[in-house]
Homo-oligomer: 241 residues x 2
DNA sequence: TTACGTCTGTACGATGCCGCACTTAGACGC
DNA sequence: GCGTCTAAGTGCGGCATCGTACAGACGTAA
């Protein structure tokens, strides 16, 4: 188990210099994140921040009439629970495990203390938060202007970026909930992508066959966000100085 | 002039205790913000942060094909240029003056220094940033699920919240650009609101006649964001401790 | 007053997505 | 092997918004 899982699989933890990492290490708790688990509800007080390693988390907004929309995803590139150090403690969003896996969690007050030292951890977390802001903003634009098919491409690419392999465990129904569209719309879009040889799927298993073509078919929103993540969080130790 | 304009017309500046306020005061520069002025372009390095007092700023994302969408508005409750202290220095969005007025600006390095003191100013700015995140997220949901008419109501209410009077200087064409919809869609929605006696308008002048009814017709998105702003930024000195 | 530009109203077919209903096809347990 | 459940495919009418085009109304400046 301890060979398979390591905190540095999370890019933010990996970007820390040893002083900060060593301080945080004893506080890290490995947790399994089963598909569908709700890590926090809208308005709920957060007790932990989560550093995903092999799982993916969806940030969902749910409307009064029950429909929903994913506004951002968090995987091993990020951290869940920014409102803890931003000072709000809660957010109006719901966090759901979108892809089964593992992650590390840290008690809220621990990360707050570290943040309040106003050192490299603060700078790193804020830069990540800005990248997250970009993702949310671009999602707003994408919801307005782009087709279900383009958004499905975006969603597939975002997911694969946060996974090791090329297979996703995810039904069309769940994807529809994430994107905030009908299940049939996803079926139709997925059918086109399948026909074009970009993906393969069956009963909740999706295989990405031709990523380059997917990247050509996706709307700009995917690339804009990716570029911004790369700019704000160049991998490894570069950020923390 | 100096009677008409005062930094404390901006709620964030007003929330500062005297020590921080006095430090910042000599650095504040009053600037006029004419309608349509672009305060920064997507990807541009920001030289100042802006504290609006009587103007309103729109944060717009522009797509490759030229269509756009407003993802947040900033008025006297906020600050423009969070990417400066978040550490990114640039964002993929464009900031445009949506309503003529005034504001104060501060050079980027000044606000960075203040932020890096890790005192009340940092805490205040981060709380504001979290409120902004909520606004962006809710905009994403609204773009997905709600009608043009509901979004127009939201837009009108957001604008009036940031102004003193009940009249907006804004054509339907410009509103359409903000919302990322057709001008005709706005005409139709505005026609309904006019017919119902909620607003009056003519050639770029919009009067809000019945705000309570507007609030009943708007989608939840407006209220969710308002509640979150009020929670995170309870007025005046309460926040900065 | 006239001419021009801007703002607003209206019409119409096209399109993409919705809501609903029903079918088909794998997966799984007994 | 059989029923059952869940995932995915299909069909159809309805609706909101789009794209385009044009007409009227108002304001301003010559």
């Amino acid at each position: 188990m301890s060979d398979l899982h390591h905190p540095r699989q999370n890019h933010l933890l990996d970007a820390l210099l040893s002083a900060e990492y060593d301080r945080l290490f004893p506080e890290l708790e490995l947790v399994h994140m089963p598909l569908g688990k709700v890590l926090y509800e809208s308005g709920e007080h957060l007790k932990h921040v989560y550093f995903p390693t092999t799982c993916i988390i969806s940030l969902l907004y749910v409307t009064e009439n029950g429909s929903s929309a994913e506004i951002a995803v968090v995987g091993n590139e990020g951290i869940l629970g920014v409102s803890i150090f931003m000072g709000g403690d809660t957010t109006p969003s719901r966090a759901v495990v979108q892809s089964d896996g593992y992650g590390y969690r840290v008690k809220a007050h621990i990360i707050k203390n570290e943040f309040n030292l106003a050192g490299p951890v603060l700078r790193l977390l804020l830069r990540y938060t800005q990248a997250l802001i970009t993702q949310m903003s671009q999602t707003a634009v994408c919801n307005r202007h782009h087709s279900v098919e383009q958004q499905l491409c975006r969603w597939l690419l975002l997911s694969q970026d946060r996974l090791s392999g090329n297979e996703l465990i995810m039904t069309q129904e769940l994807i529809a909930n994430m994107l905030g569209v009908r299940r049939e719309g996803v079926t139709e879009a997925a059918g086109k992508l399948h026909h074009a040889g970009l993906i393969d799927y069956s009963r909740g298993h999706i295989k990405i066959l031709d990523r380059p073509k997917l990247e050509r078919r996706v709307c700009e929103c995917y690339h804009v966000v990716k570029v911004e993540y790369d700019r704000l969080l160049p991998s490894l130790h570069a950020i923390a100085r």
